[in-house]
């Protein structure tokens, strides 16, 4: 049974009366112990999809199954208890912590909300979580402002693991951190998954970290999944022209590796409601792309929404 199954999810926001289709028919699954990445540029809907998985937002249509149960039909009280299994780490560590709470109280919060524990049991579980993220129980009596950015993010991770969840949504957990700190957080996330066996839904625009951390990846563009497959395959031999563009825009840290020239878009056409969303930025587009290509399997476990996949129709 998958840990998370989201099917045909749509979510529309309204900005100055205009609809913004943040998620427009996305289907994703996350298996137990799996790290699944959602990648895409800002505005692609990846964070919205993460919030929908967490039930911080309700979809306009679609189904959210978590450990086989329909979260959308679950009574609020039961959903609240279920949140112990479904946790989150946010992008901005400082903003996601209460400045007036000691770290220990912040980490205890998910336990207090979802379980009835005596004070001693609560304390020992909190201390254990703080140890596991490498902070040590002694840091528990600090306030967030007394910690570095990396330490703050470790508090956020301790709060997420304290209830032993089945799934953690990681919404750009390393984007606001320095490079050397980031490396520590990435290896911590990997270590915790090996020890505790939870799944990650990892939202990121950093393809290098995704390549390193994720088993599978979904590429989003304008609220739609345009490509999915094993992370190594999708990132090294992209099928969708948008994935290929993301790869080409990537800069290698080795000065000897030359930059890939960015493809020039074929600009005669512009996207419409029923066209391919990438029309207008795509170099491969033809008149056929005026009708939207379905997300179709090109090889086992690998799907792409394109009439002219890069590898299959060069």
């Amino acid at each position: 049974m998958p840990t998370l199954e989201m099917s045909d999810i749509t979510k529309t926001f309204y900005r100055r009366g205009q609809p913004v289709h943040a998620v427009a028919g996305a289907t994703i699954t996350v298996q137990p112990r799996e790290t699944v990445a959602l990648v895409g540029e800002s505005g692609s809907g990846k964070s919205t999809l993460g919030r929908l998985a967490l039930m911080l937002l309700r979809p306009d249509s679609g189904q959210v199954l978590f450990e086989g149960e329909d979260l959308l039909r679950m009574p609020p009280r039961e959903l609240r208890a279920r949140r112990a299994r479904l946790q989150v780490v946010f992008q901005e560590p400082f903003q996601s912590l209460d400045p007036q709470h000691e770290v220990r109280d912040t980490v205890a919060e998910p336990l207090v909300c979802t379980q009835r524990l005596d004070k001693g049991a609560l304390q020992s579980q909190v201390d254990e979580a703080l140890e596991m993220v490498g902070l040590g129980a002694a840091k528990g009596s600090r306030y967030p402002s007394q910690l570095s950015g990396g330490e703050q993010q470790r508090v956020g991770i301790a709060r997420a693991i304290v209830t032993r969840p089945a799934l953690i949504v990681l919404d750009e957990p390393t984007s606001s951190l320095d490079l050397t700190v980031r490396a520590g957080i990435v290896s911590l996330l990997q270590k915790l998954q090996a020890e505790l066996g939870m799944s990650y839904l990892f939202i990121s625009h950093d393809l290098d970290t995704v390549h390193f951390l994720a088993d599978r990846v979904y590429v989003m563009y304008r609220g739609q999944i345009v490509e999915t497959g094993a992370a190594a395959d999708v990132l090294t031999s992209p099928e969708h022209p948008y994935t290929a563009l993301l790869g080409a825009a990537r800069l290698d840290v080795d000065p000897e590796v030359p930059r890939t020239p960015l493809p020039k878009p074929h600009t005669g056409l512009s996207p419409a409601a029923h066209s391919c969303p990438f029309l207008g930025r795509c170099e491969r587009s033809t008149d056929k792309c005026i009708s939207k290509p379905p997300l179709a399997e090109v090889s086992p476990g690998r799907s792409v929404a394109c009439w002219y996949p890069v590898q299959s129709s060069p």
Partner: protein
């Protein structure tokens, strides 16, 4: 003082900085954000200034641009631009003419740089007017349109009529890049110009910046925390940590074999497929105020590192590093008299 290189040699340098320190004063406390920094920038080259948050890279840039205000202070034995202008003593009014005309600047947030209410065209007109380059709006708009077209913006007249809020991040940053190149300054400083942008837009903006500084006439100082940006767009790199420059040299050489353990740690932190990023680990070594600031995190730290801060000295020709133990093949320590003082050795 540095060795006198003679007038001819001098003119190759677009910027000479010696012993620059920036001190911020707040609530009775003094904090040195930039500490005794010395470097030269050769005309026509592209330099990458890397460091993590708090390393002092933006404070250094503000000092170069004359934007550090009382009660905060900048001191330096030399801060010379183009071999002729002392940036430390130039009056504020004259600095305003230098910024924009001789030194272009691109910041991180284009929407912070642009006026929210004035049209883009009006801002270009005021910019040109302030620099005595144009009196008539029509002339200003024509020049601005030309520059914007050169930066690949579609429909420049429409952009000039519109406001900053109507632009996407990538377009707004190109408008700012337009200001920094309009008067053909010989030196461009870009402080994290693409950090707020998506990867594809980042590539376009950096490619434009590279184009504007190609041909060896213009110099670029590109401030970033992204080593890949330096690897791909810069000739030379300056690595900063805790207010000091710890390593300088040609990008290819430094990235292939760093001479400072901190640079090595930064490079090892970059995630690469197959190899896990290596975080830095604390060795537990405690330093005194006179020791190397990197020693508590350094795998090479020894007794002398804890008490004696290494100076930024020439390690191999064209490269400098502030480390007692790297590169390992470095010759025996120089006599104390030669190594003492904050002077440069290259």
């Amino acid at each position: 003082m540095s060795i006198d290189l003679g007038a001819e040699r001098r003119s190759d340098l677009v910027l000479e900085v010696e012993d620059l320190t920036t001190t911020y004063h707040s609530h009775g406390n003094a904090f040195e954000a930039v500490r005794q920094v010395s470097f030269d920038l050769v005309r026509g080259r592209r330099y990458g200034l890397v460091g993590e948050s708090g390393s002092g890279k933006s404070s250094l840039i503000r000092a170069l641009l004359g934007l550090v205000r009382i009660p905060n202070q900048v001191t330096a034995t030399t801060l010379r631009f183009d071999g002729r202008i002392d940036l430390l003593t130039t009056p504020a009014k004259q600095m305003r003419q230098i910024r924009g005309a001789e030194i272009g600047y691109v910041g991180q947030n284009p929407f912070g740089a642009l006026h929210p209410v004035l049209s883009v065209g009006e801002q270009y007109h005021q910019f040109l007017k302030a620099h005595g380059q144009s009196r008539r709006r029509r002339d200003s708009l024509a020049r601005a349109a030309e520059v914007l077209a050169g930066l690949g913006l579609p429909d420049p007249p429409a952009v000039l009529k519109g406001h900053a809020g109507q632009l996407s991040g990538g377009m707004a940053q190109r408008v700012v890049l337009g200001f920094s190149t309009l008067l053909q300054p010989q030196f461009i400083i870009a402080d994290e110009p693409t950090t707020a942008l998506d990867v594809t837009v980042q590539r376009q903006v950096l490619d434009l910046l590279a184009e504007e500084t190609s041909g060896g006439k213009r110099s670029l100082l590109l401030v970033t925390h992204d080593l890949s940006v330096v690897a791909q767009y810069c000739d030379d790199v300056l690595v900063m940590r805790k207010g000091r420059i710890v390593e300088t040299g040609p990008v290819r050489q430094v990235f292939a074999a760093p001479h400072h353990p901190y640079t090595a740690a930064l490079l090892a932190s970059v995630p690469r497929p197959g190899t896990p990023p290596r975080p830095m680990t604390r060795t537990g070594a405690a330093t005194t105020g006179t020791g190397c600031e990197f020693a508590p995190l350094c795998p090479l730290a020894q007794e002398n590192c804890l008490v004696d801060r290494p100076l930024l000295l020439s390690s191999t020709p064209g490269r400098r590093a502030a480390c007692h133990h790297m590169p390992p093949q470095r010759e025996a320590p120089r006599p104390v008299s030669a190594a003492a003082g904050p002077g440069r050795r290259d």
